[in-house]
Subunit: 430 residues, 2 copies
């Protein structure tokens, strides 16, 4: 997100953006009603058709992407952002294959969640249905255009996409290919719409469109997620921070603790499931091996006084460190006296994403699983497993740390809701 001062809001532009979003939303909702009537096989076929269209239109997509890259280079975008933006034959094939993988997932729509007959003789069924129109607001990766659209459509939802300015030509080309493929299989083009303007007020209008857009999913950095969570009137599915803890209990098996802690921090430091705080039990017998492994792997450690006493290479932690998501090779380390102290630390500092205990003590493990109030709680596993693919969900629209609707990795089921179907034989209520 730009940190440059914003120009004063132009009331006319603001009204225009609201009208635009309302028009797009109404078109999307109408298209969604068509999608809602399509069965599993028809939606899967439409996604395979979209994947084929992506492959067919590869030259146009790559040409548009080359223009985005050239514009980005001229604007002086940093190399990491240019890399996220860049498409080639392999990445485009990966995008098409991902759409086909979503097509192959089981359709959650139509599932009967519960069914019963009540004393009045009414037959009540709760049946899974699409949510409706989903708004996706994302940053530079153009593959989100295809991934998010595929997940939404698979579960019968329409989607309104708003990508980053730097990828605008790529996103338009991908969206054109997708809708061409979907339309060939009977899905109205308005089921997958890309915001036609990069005006930032259009994002504000999406966030305020309660009743028109049913849910917003922000995909990107913390600045984006924070703005969306602060300004949205529409329900938001997201996580802001992944301040994940690993607690090495006194009864942890030393070699397992070393390898899992190392993986949790260093496998990839930039993902939301990466460990950011290591809690070492004062009675755990082998803290040095863990500390050595992390330092040897190039991780900076910042500890409380008792952690610093383990190794002089551990720097002092400030009060902020316990609430910091580094997303880097930096880790805060505290020594705690037993399970209760670990639970207290986690209750105070966890962002509710993923927290783990390493222990061979089953009772301690079950207490941790029961009492840590995060979306994902783990025993004897790396927090880096917090991922829809690793959870067997096929793909995820995001990871959510809110408490309502869906939590943790959110995939197709999280893109559905339910209705009550009531079948009677002429009952009036007594």
């Amino acid at each position: 997100m730009s940190t440059q001062p914003q120009p004063p809001i132009d009331r006319e532009t603001l009204a225009d953006c609201e009208t635009l979003v309302a028009d797009l939303a109404r078109a999307g909702r109408a298209a969604q009603r068509v999608l809602a009537r399509m069965d599993d096989a028809a939606k899967a076929q439409a996604l395979r058709s979209a994947a084929a269209a992506l492959r067919r239109n590869a030259p146009a997509v790559l040409a548009a992407n080359a223009q985005d890259i050239a514009a980005g280079e001229a604007r002086g975008l940093p190399p990491a952002m240019l890399d996220r933006l860049r498409l080639d034959d392999g990445r485009l094939e990966g995008m098409a294959a991902a759409v086909e993988a979503v097509a192959a997932l089981p359709d959650p729509v139509g599932e009967v969640i519960s069914r019963s007959t009540v004393p009045s003789g009414l037959d009540l069924a709760r049946v899974r249905i699409p949510i409706g129109l989903i708004g996706i607001i994302y940053e530079s990766r153009p593959n989100v255009t295809a991934d998010a659209a595929a997940l939404c459509v698979r579960a019968g939802n329409a989607v309104l996409l708003r990508g980053g300015s730097e990828a605008v030509r790529s996103n338009r080309a991908i969206n054109a290919a997708l809708t061409e493929g979907l339309a060939a299989a009977g899905v109205p083009a308005e089921a997958v719409q890309l915001m036609p303007t990069q005006d930032r007020e259009a994002v504000g209008a999406m966030l305020r469109a309660a009743g028109l857009i049913d849910m917003i999913v922000p995909r990107g950095g913390k600045g984006l997620v924070e703005r969306v969570q602060n300004d949205a009137r529409v329900p938001v599915l997201a996580h802001l921070d992944g301040i994940c803890h690993t607690y090495v209990h006194s009864a942890a098996e030393p070699e397992m603790a070393r390898s899992v802690a190392l993986n949790a921090k260093m496998r990839r430091t930039g993902i939301c499931g990466a460990m950011e705080t290591l809690l070492l039990d004062a009675n755990f017998p082998a803290p040095h091996a863990i500390v050595d492994a992390l330092l040897d792997a190039g991780c900076e450690l910042r500890g409380d006084l008792r952690a610093q006493a383990i190794d002089p290479r551990i720097a002092p932690a400030s009060a902020n460190d316990w609430d910091t998501e580094y997303l880097d090779a930096v880790l805060s380390v505290a020594v705690v006296d037993g399970l209760d102290a670990a639970l207290d630390h986690i209750a105070r500092h966890s962002s509710g994403h993923t927290d783990a205990i390493l222990t061979a003590d089953a009772a301690a493990a079950e207490r941790f699983l029961a009492e840590v109030d995060s979306a994902i709680v783990m025993v004897n596993a790396s927090t880096q497993f917090a991922d829809g693919g690793e959870f067997g969900l096929g793909a995820e629209i995001g990871i959510a740390t809110g408490r309502l609707h869906a939590r943790g990795p959110v995939a197709l089921e999280g893109l559905t809701t339910y209705k009550w179907q009531v079948r009677g034989t002429g009952q009036g209520r007594p």
Copy 2:
């Protein structure tokens, strides 16, 4: 809600109310962590203890209520409001019995929603847990104090209650009795807190307390629900309107159609599940019997031109009538050409609460169930069945027309969420 002009907001009061709500929320959240560790039997026992305390403290509750009634009479409250406010031995016993009935409901917490082992060997379980701290904002009926508190506590939640000014003494006495009973069974008194001030800014502070209060349930008239939905930053579970439709299909059995339509409108006209619009298929052979029955029962009918042609006693409907929740013995009536026209009318005008089709044609019934996008869709039954008790849920915290989390009658399960419990054997992510 008062329509008098409000005094300008006092910044100091506003800050005070925010501090107050934050303090109450923190105390409530701490108490909730105790509740979350209590098992089914302990929570049920605590509610039975609360019911006993309500009975034991009946003299104090009735004395407080008599003061509220006297104050209300002095302020000139209308008789209907005084009746909602008034408690007597029978109503107090009903309140205690309702708390015991909630105690007898099955505890949803701990239910394993799904469980699987993924290729990495991790064992994944989604387990139902309490939501956390629920805010209830309600109007004159003091029984909501006990009902809402019991439902929240049964599912392991703490609750922050903010009742109407006219019932302030009654609510305090009921809350004191409940917390006395809960505390005797080991539930901290802060699990059920009543807002100690009637300052309207305190309601605003509750609505803005995202991260401190997990969900708000407004219980009361449309003015209250509208304010809560407009101002809340915390997720809201509610319905604004119940504009419920009954469509009499061409293949409806005439006598069933007459009796169900009459029940849907006239059993009780003031509830959210009451029918507000009757759609008569142009090919339904017996519209006169339905119209006669409704008129004979004292219902005012307002129709389109084709409905007016059925009976001269049907007044002309204005454009607004199709979007009006009368909550009275008034009904809008339209004649439609077939199922598609009925679906179109409902898509345009339904509030998404409850809509019904009356028909002996199974294919038409299934299309209606599939395509009407409301929280509750019914075949051959009165829309007045839209109720948690009638749905076998025991009791309801409210009826929700939003699309996320929980829809239709929301009871104990809707007061829970889930977490992922992951059990490993030392896995690092490849």
